[in-house]
């Protein structure tokens, strides 16, 4: 338990904007400014900016950096050009997920890991513990970095014009480092919304200046409320909902990020066995008939028997449908399977669908 709530370098600005603040991952974070719906639509249709300074950053440096990252990360960074980014997970020996993360390849001897706020302490301990025997230097840089995410179809134009950073040539899931005001600013074409966009990492002072410029230019500030509705609609997982230490990436329907043909990584044996035997349950999409809203933790039933649980659910802002992601036992995970969702005292008919409720709009 955190005794004291942490704050980001933009905290006073959120308060001044009148944001509704709430704890998330140990930080006092803005949930919404204007309203989740308005902020969600700003990102889908135009552009919005998120304070994501709560995210953790860890730098891995040294002659064994490639070998070490390959050891703790389920995805395969082999042969990647400098500047490429990989999404994937760190797993325990039993295949459960320590965290999902982004790995930025600076070069063969240096990687930059971006981890979830709620997991920083646990992750850093795990990363340190497993570095034994590898010639690497590991630094938790979370306290020194601020981060904003500029997301939406107008993100490129906004970053170029308002911030004066030339990002046109940065490809999807790539990053560049720019010397700005005497520091090295990291800009990647990544995000958590299903839209085109950029994530910008810099000192607290720099990120505060970036925020001010974006506010002056009229860019919509967006809170964690719509960050969740946006990522949910395009089927992206959130650690704590779709991922956890007792959920494997295979069960989370994220096998495509687990490279079992790699010679070695923590959790490989367990995940390979699970893949070969087949999982007993997995994350699927659910669509409800009618207007009731499925929420995290609600039971999914077949003939009155519980066969799973909702992990995230909303009335989709973009489509208006009541949809959810859910962890469902086999064989009820098949597309089109009719199930019922228990909401308070009643059950509502629903069916299993693909866990993408809105098409991603990436610029690749």
């Amino acid at each position: 338990m955190e005794n004291q709530m942490k704050t980001t370098c933009l905290h006073d600005k959120h308060v001044a904007l009148g944001a509704l603040m709430s704890p998330f991952g140990g930080f006092d974070m803005p949930i919404q400014y204007k309203g989740i719906t308005e902020e969600h639509n700003a990102v889908r249709k135009h552009v919005g900016v998120f304070d994501v300074s709560h995210m953790g950053e860890v730098r891995v440096k040294g002659p064994d950096a490639y070998k070490y990252v390959s050891h703790i990360f389920v995805n395969d960074v082999t042969g990647a050009p400098d500047g490429q980014i990989f999404y994937g997970m760190m797993c325990y020996e039993n295949g459960g997920v320590v965290d999902d993360l982004l790995v930025y390849k600076v070069n063969d001897n240096e990687y930059f890991l971006v981890i979830n706020a709620s997991n920083i302490d646990k992750d850093v301990a795990w990363i340190m513990k497993n570095a034994e025997g590898f010639d690497v230097e590991i630094t938790d840089e979370s306290p020194i970095y601020g981060e904003v995410a500029v997301q939406g179809p107008e993100a490129e134009e906004t970053v170029e014009k308002v911030l004066g950073i030339p990002v046109k040539d940065i490809a999807f899931y790539n990053f560049k480092t720019f010397p700005i005001d005497g520091e090295e600013v990291i800009v990647s074409r990544t995000g958590y919304t299903g839209e085109d966009g950029f994530e910008i990492y810099g000192s607290h002072d720099y990120i505060r200046r970036v925020w001010d410029k974006l506010m002056e230019a009229g860019v919509q500030p967006c809170g964690l409320g719509c960050r969740d509705t946006l990522r949910f609609e395009v089927g992206l997982p959130l650690y704590g909902d779709e991922l956890a230490d007792d959920i494997t990436p295979i069960e989370a329907s994220l096998s495509m990020f687990v490279k079992l043909d790699k010679p070695e990584f923590i959790g490989k044996e367990a995940l390979a066995a699970q893949k070969a035997e087949g999982v007993k349950r997995r994350i699927v999409g659910i669509e409800l008939e009618g207007n009731a809203i499925p929420r995290h933790g609600y039971a999914v039933e077949v003939n009155g028997e519980k066969v799973g649980e909702i992990t995230t659910g909303y009335r989709s802002i973009s489509t208006g449908k009541s949809v959810a992601m859910a962890m469902i036992d086999k064989p009820y995970d098949k597309l089109g399977t009719e199930v019922e969702v228990r909401i308070r005292k009643k059950t509502f008919p629903a069916k299993v669908v693909k866990k993408r409720f809105y098409d991603k709009n990436y610029k690749k």
Partner: protein
């Protein structure tokens, strides 16, 4: 500042009650609708359902979360506001003008135990 209507009685869980003879008309306060934000769904009981004071009778839901509703009085549900199925945002527009359910009370003295406008205003300030 949220509005508080003088002629209503209130539950600490932010429901208002307006009494029409033996029938309690129940809604949620302006303070509650404001705290919830955009209401996108209202889950209401069936006409004929029996409620004890303090029973959960449904929920109002914003994009982010579901908030349970508790009956301030005991009795039988005699009407539910079906307009809310299509226009849940009516609560945001006019919380005191938008009722949720009507309950034929078994013990109308329960209303006297509820908060008056002044006492409720204090709760909202905390």
């Amino acid at each position: 500042m949220s509005k508080i209507e003088e002629g209503c009685r209130y539950a600490e869980s932010h429901e208002w009650v307006r009494v029409d003879e033996d029938v309690a008309v129940i809604g949620i306060s302006d303070y509650a609708q404001h705290a919830l934000g955009n209401i996108v769904y209202v889950d209401l009981p069936e006409v004929g359902d029996e409620l004890e004071a303090g029973d959960e009778f449904g929920a109002v839901e914003s994009v982010k979360a579901a908030s349970d509703l508790y009956s301030p009085v005991s009795g039988t549900v005699v009407a539910v506001n079906e307009e809310l199925e299509d226009r849940p945002e009516a609560i945001n527009e006019d919380a005191f003008g938008t009722w949720l359910i009507k309950v034929a009370m078994t013990d109308s003295s329960e209303v006297d135990k509820l908060l008056d406008a002044e006492a409720y205003a204090k709760i909202c300030e905390e």
